[in-house]
Symmetry: C2
Subunit: 247 residues, 2 copies
DNA sequence: CTAGTTTAGATTGGATACAACGTCAAACAC
DNA sequence: GTGTTTGACGTTGTATCCAATCTAAACTAG
């Protein structure tokens, strides 16, 4: 078993992302330490990390409080992801793919085709698509071979909703979610096509356009409001109004 | 006076950036705690933050070791800065400037003109230019009004050499440094011009080209090798060969 | 009844104590 | 002479302790 430190960090981050704490809520060390059956020390260590990740904030009076996220902040973070993934796609196009890289990416497209082939999507097919989507994005980032870029994307994705998978169309079972998945899947195909033809600028443009679907889905979830909290608990971290909501 | 936590963090980061620790060196808590006259607790907290910043690494056997940076990693980080600052410039151009914003940016240009006006640069004039440069870049980032972007740039700048000021031409007194400052200054002017005309794409392109000077200077410093360690102690953190240098 | 003050409790920031672990070195065996 | 094992030392990870501070409630005075 690993150290308390990493266990507490992972579990606490999980609790936060599950919406266990209300925005602005004071995060006392003792109750959390008890809840995760550890002492205060690993909890404080975890807080230091989570503060860097932007999930919690130092309170001026000491201690930490849960951060609130405005709609604009999430939207902005998605835009940043677009730019960074656009850079990744451009780099991959400029540097060129090896045969193995190309094969891996094509495998993703194939998995996507299979998940989307029926007229209706099962839950399993949806899960498969999400996994394929994550893999595809991760491959592009890895193939770009730029550690600072990888890091920047990783840190940006720590913000709730900013990650690629967080804002895939969630209502796939209702039918119109599948339409959007078809569109994002086609964008993946365009991206790979551009990359293989070394069209860096096109690859970048498609990658940037790609996140617009995520923005649209965020808007959708935001308007649905409380309904989407059921399937996306992290929605609770979204402040309904501008401001931090902490006082 | 502030907390030990923040004091130790700042001082320790300073020590690291001054090249006090060799790449791969084990960073023991007790000596550092004694050196900064605190207990191990704040040091440990600082390590957690510095690890997030990428300056130190967890050793598999426990504890932290000083990270080594390869030339490529720094170069890549500068490329990421170019993309992010390019995004900032584009956003500012697209959103437009208020009268106050415009005035502040023009003030920077004026200060730069003054610092560069003589045929030779004094140390003071150089210092003024550096300060103006930082301010100009920070203004653009602030005016973009995208918190995730601000954060991403900030985190990326924590890597040594990646920040805008870190790789300005350092040999300004020798004359050819001044030439390069004239060029970067002119790029600032072009950027503002593009922004005022709402030419987002041009503003972005200039901002991206702008960091090429930084890359060139890094190459320059790297080739000079030990000479540049005198004026840039952080050069010691650059691994002379690929790899982590930790074993 | 309200507002201000005081006091008691809880909580954080920091230091230290302790146990488990890893590392290094010396000594022994082959 | 070399390789291995064992033991001692140092370090980390974690828990707890203490003091300083903030919070909140209750009480008093106007």
């Amino acid at each position: 078993m690993q150290s308390q430190q990493s266990r507490v960090l992972v579990q606490l981050r999980d609790l936060i992302l599950k919406g266990e704490f209300a925005p602005g809520e004071r995060l006392a060390e003792i109750p959390i330490a008890e809840r995760l059956s550890s002492s205060r020390t690993p909890v404080r260590l975890a807080f230091a990390t989570l503060e860097q990740e932007g999930l919690v904030q130092l309170s001026p009076s000491g201690g930490y409080v849960m951060r609130a996220f405005t709609r604009k902040e999430i939207d902005d973070a998605i835009a940043v992801r677009g730019v960074l993934e656009g850079m990744a796609a451009r780099l991959v196009a400029e540097n060129g793919l090896t045969r193995e890289m190309s094969a891996e990416l094509h495998e993703c497209l194939k998995l996507g085709d299979e998940a989307l082939k029926g007229p209706e999507m099962t839950i399993d097919a949806y899960a498969d698509y999400v996994e394929m989507n994550n893999h595809f994005h991760q491959l592009l980032i890895d193939f770009a071979g730029n550690a600072a870029l990888t890091r920047a994307i990783e840190l940006n994705n720590r913000l709730p909703f900013a990650a690629a998978s967080a804002t895939l169309p969630m209502h796939s079972s209702t039918g119109d979610g599948r339409q959007w998945l078809l569109i994002t899947h086609n964008q993946h195909r365009s991206m790979l096509h551009a990359i293989e033809r070394r069209e860096g600028s096109r690859a970048q443009a498609v990658a940037m356009e790609h996140v617009e679907v995520a923005r649209m889905n965020l808007r959708h979830a935001y308007e649905k409001g409380s309904e989407s909290i059921e399937i996306m608990p992290a929605m609770r971290l979204l402040a309904r109004r501008q401001g931090t909501g902490s006082h």
